[in-house]
Amino acid sequence: MDANLLSSYIFAVVVLNVLLGLMAYMTYLERKLMAAMQDRVGPNRTGPVGLLQPIADGIKLLVKEDIIPKHADRRIFLLAPLLSFVLAPVAAAVIPFGDSITVFGHEVNLYVADINVAALYFLAIGSMGVYGIILGGYASANRYSLLGGLRSAAQVISYEIILGLSLVGVFILSGSLSLVEIVNQQSETLHLGPLQLPNWFILSQPLAFVIFLIAAVAETNRAPFDLPEAETELIGGFHTEYSGFRFSFFFLAEYISMIVISLFGATIFLGGTDGPIRDGVWWLALKAFIFLFFYIWLRTTVPRFRYDQLMGLAWKVLLPLVLINILLTGFIRLWGLGML
């Protein structure tokens, strides 16, 4: 086995573990931020300022009884949370965390894989992620779960299209599906008269960015698009019947996919590791944090959509907008580049 492949494997393990740790503290961050926005304190009993709370929660969930409903489709019921949990971090494999660094004389690339179809790979993994939800909803033998699964299937298919199409403008401009290539292009400087701007795609594709943001929230089933769970309507939707660590798998998968899609958005639209001074992974982390903050902010602020409104938004508002964006980008790419 050659050293390159080995370093890739090691880096994959590192990314996976960092993601899992981040995810645990993502729950802490969400609770603390929400508490601050809602005029309360948040977790503060376990450890200093509640810092051990995620660990306590983890232990609690792990030792809880694992209840399987009597009429559940047992095999699928057991499979579904695993599917969700395994697929969520896999998408992070294509995200570049920086240029290569040298460790013990070996050059190590700060990405797990630079594949030619990285962006599409990301979408493909995202589209697989829905299986956990839809199968969990089906297998629970509960009508609320079934409704959650059905809603989720419709929602994820719709917003998957929007998410994919919102990226097409970026692909047209960059001419590549590889995230490494896209980040490299964004690190160039854009000269607009006297202004020197970073060539981030948020500047050339603002509409696509907004649509991506909306679709990303819907894709991860977060408020105000959390209809598959909707605790006040469907009592948790697809995970109504799950308990213990199987529930925690669903829960963690949601947070991991939030982090991963934030990293992805930061990479595609906000220049990834590119920053004003000293490029590096910290810039990526900062940008992803902005995304995550937006997620939490949204959750505390807005009410939930109704099912028909959600689908109407996707098909009647976002889809035409994103198609117009592709059309305009195509025109500019064909004839407009000389003018810039």
Partner: protein, 410 residues
Amino acid sequence: MSLEISQGTPVEISEERALTDSRRQMVLNMGPQHPSTHGVLRVILTMEGETIVGCDPVLGYLHRGVEKLGETHRYSQFVPWTDRTDYVAAPSNNLGYILAVERLCGIEAPERATYWRMIMGELARLASHLVWLGTHALDIGALSMSLYCFRERELILDIFETFCGARLTTNMMEMGGFSRPIPDNLPGMVRDFCNIFPEKQVEYESLLSANPIWLSRTRGVGVIEPDAAISMSLTGACLRGSGINYDVRKATPYLYYDRMDFEVPLGTRGDVYDRYLVRMEEMRQSISIIEQCLDQMPTDGPLSLTESPYVIPPHDSVMKTAEDMQRHFIWVIKGFSPPKGEVYQAIEHSKGELGYYVVSDGTPIPYRVRLRTPDFVNLQSLPYMAQGAALADVVALIGTIDIVLGSVDR
């Protein structure tokens, strides 16, 4: 005028059609353990996809026989039970019952006590509306509203606590006024609250009224036609949201509501959003009523009738005079006996017309106590509104009726 609600109208369905319908429909049992049914309401929903075709509320999971308890307790002993019907606005319930019994006995509380009763009633209305707003918004998905609302409700509960020592089940009102003195800092607390609250209410509205998702979730949803509202005997914001001008405080004024300068908001469409607007405006009017009460109220004066046989004698005269001591003994041991007769006293509760019907046979125990709780009556508009709505709307509809199951089931 013909009032017709097609709820029970038979619709011709061919046999084949009925068969396919039943195969396509799904019965969803919502509650009694469901986070958005405000307690233990159970709703059996028949759905086609996400559209409701049938809605059947099932009541009684919190039935405690409050009316029957009224027939076994002495008049003053029943007051704590009224706390436990609509527990989010306990002083209003106390008030309604005490007013009914006072009318039966033909007594009236002194002026200062009456003003304080109005203040407490309006504070109870605010407390109840705040719970409604928080849970209604939470049902629709606005997570933070409930916490903001409960933050302000805390202030009201603090006032209750200062006044009578209890926060939720206040047992606040007594025959003939109040036997305990008003704490010195209470008027200041109420004033402070009246100064703070309008700003906070602007905050709520900036979160909801301007929010397109909130508008799309509430506008045009759960429309109640004025005729339907009347024929279902709705009261309160459910009725006024449909544009019908009926407020007990205006129609048959009790306490000193005829001295107050306030307006009754009426909706124009009768949907969830109108009821939301009506209740928000009612909160502003309540603040104005409380301020007027504080301004008009005599600063001192008796808080309770002293001479009436129906009222517990004041503490120091019990200690000083033999007559009062005897009266006190009898009042405590045997209770008071109102004259024979019956009375129906309605007050404008935060949820609508709360009526107490009390029949006395001249003994210390009522012959019959009947509660006309507003949300029990209002709840019958749920199947009407739910027809053709989406599943997600049902929680909004339950929220807009503003039910408290303790009051519905009694």
